[in-house]
């Protein structure tokens, strides 16, 4: 494999990172909304978000990408493959992060909410100043775990036809006929991004386990 091919893989890597970031940030934004609705105490909102989460957790990510990709075209939106895929990952991430953060919000001791209510803090301030700061801490290991899952998941954009790292690997492998070398390198590149994150996630988890003892 020459320098040109390796640079092509790195370009793919750049798109993998960008796609993961967009999915994570967008998913984080909508995921927070999902988590807040899921814990709002308003029955229709709770049922709706719970169904939304179940839908995404009960179907393969690949199908979600396909349906979003072709669904957007169907309602007349002629979007770039990159935008369509980014929307797909954002929706996917919003459901998973929504569920993770729902758990963390519920894990914050009830007395905290009650105390905030007794201090006559209204909902926004109760969430922003009391519950969420604690919930975020609790959710960190699982959130990082999901980020790793999301980065790995972006490889499926290759099947939809978006040239990120895995598809770049496919293209190079078809050019130079060394699939093992190419996919070995592609795997190592993913590993180099995901492993430090995983290590950091389990480090946080251990620290919290000690703290809660």
């Amino acid at each position: 494999m020459g320098e040109a091919e390796f640079l092509f893989l790195l370009t793919g890597l750049k798109w993998t990172v960008l796609l993961s970031l967009v999915g994570f940030v967008g998913g984080g934004f909508f995921g927070l909304a999902v988590a807040l609705m899921r814990t709002s105490g308003i029955k229709p909102l709770e049922r709706g978000t719970s169904a939304y989460i179940a839908l995404f957790q009960g179907t393969p990510l690949l199908m979600q990408l396909f349906v979003v990709y072709y669904g957007l075209a169907l309602i007349g939106l002629r979007l770039d493959a990159w935008i369509a895929v980014a929307i797909g990952f954002t929706l996917h991430a919003s459901a998973y992060l929504g569920e993770i953060w729902r758990g963390s919000i519920e894990a914050v001791p009830k007395g905290q909410t009650e105390a905030a209510k007794a201090l006559s803090l209204h909902y926004a301030s109760r969430m922003k100043d009391v519950v969420l700061p604690q919930a975020i801490r609790i959710s960190l290991p699982a959130t990082i775990g999901f980020l790793v899952q999301l980065i790995k998941g972006t490889s499926l954009a290759a099947i939809v036809g978006f040239t990120e790292l895995t598809r770049a690997g496919n293209i190079v492998s078809n050019q130079i006929f060394k699939p093992l070398l190419v996919f070995g390198i592609v795997g190592i590149l993913y590993f180099l991004i995901c492993w430090p994150l995983s290590l950091y996630g389990s480090h946080l988890e251990r620290r919290m386990a000690i703290a809660s003892r």
């Binding site: 839908l55 957790q57 009960g58 179907t59 393969p60 990510l61 690949l62 199908m63 979600q64 396909f66 349906v67 072709y70 669904g71 075209a73 169907l74 309602i75 007349g76 790793v148 790995k152 998941g153 972006t154 490889s155 499926l156 290759a158 099947i159 895995t166 690997g169 496919n170 699939p179 093992l180 996919f183 070995g184 592609v186 795997g187 993913y190 590993f191 995901c194 492993w195 995983s198």
Partner: protein, 222 residues
């Protein structure tokens, strides 16, 4: 919006799609079985007296858990023939699913084994239970109970992952859907329909595992 939904190709392909669900089940079951074997073997080897063996298991777990399944299945697809194994895509997919699920199973099963306090085993022996009884009643059942929720949600995840095996055209639901899609261009209808299929499959699995939990693992702990 001037697009009309047309489900005719889906309805015509329904027998093929339903048959392909069996293919998905076969992949999932094969993958789970292999994952359990690798999981148990890995846990035993992880406590091996030989340091290189312990490292190898840890490296395997980290490597598999931090790379995408799609890359793994491509790698295995091209590596097996070089290792002298010429297999069809479907068995290759089962091996890839088993290896991927196995890495997760090692971590889950290890957690279950560690969850049994040593004093509990000693107490069992002190009460005059023989070793087989101690293993069956005091180690195995509580350990299974401890790992059951995470192991089964991993199994549901593995079942959903089978759709990625369409990338090497193993026989399962997504590949059959892709064939119908390429001949009819009704992409949204085809993929929308099998998304519902997947939803039903994972829902049935969760209900099934939930029922097992209720029947065998819902006894008071303290």
């Amino acid at each position: 919006m001037n697009y009309k939904l047309d489900f005719t190709p889906v309805i015509e392909g329904l027998p093929d799609l339903l048959a392909a669900c069996l293919g998905t089940f076969a992949l999932a079951l094969g993958g789970m079985a292999l994952a359990i074997v690798i999981g148990i073997g890995g846990v035993i080897l992880r406590d091996s007296a030989l340091a290189p063996v312990r490292w190898a298991v840890k490296a395997f777990v980290e490597l598999i858990r931090n790379t995408p399944f799609l890359v793994q299945i491509f790698f295995i697809y091209f590596a097996l023939p070089l290792a002298g194994l010429r297999l069809d895509p479907t068995p290759t997919a089962i091996i890839a699913l088993g290896i991927n699920g196995g890495a997760y199973a090692i971590e889950i099963i290890r957690g279950g084994v560690q969850s049994i306090p040593k004093g509990q085993i000693e107490a069992g022996l002190a009460l005059g239970l023989h070793k087989g009884q101690v293993f069956r009643l005091i180690v195995l059942k509580p350990a299974l109970r401890a790992i059951f929720p995470s192991l089964t949600s991993q199994f549901v995840l593995l079942t959903l992952t089978t759709s990625i095996c369409s990338a090497i055209s193993a026989y399962e639901l997504t590949s059959v859907a892709q064939q119908i899609e390429t001949s009819s261009f009704r992409s949204f209808e085809v993929y929308g329909t099998i998304t519902v299929f997947y939803l039903v499959i994972s829902w049935v699995m969760m209900r099934f595992f939930g029922e097992i939990t209720r029947r065998y693992f819902s006894y008071p702990v303290k």
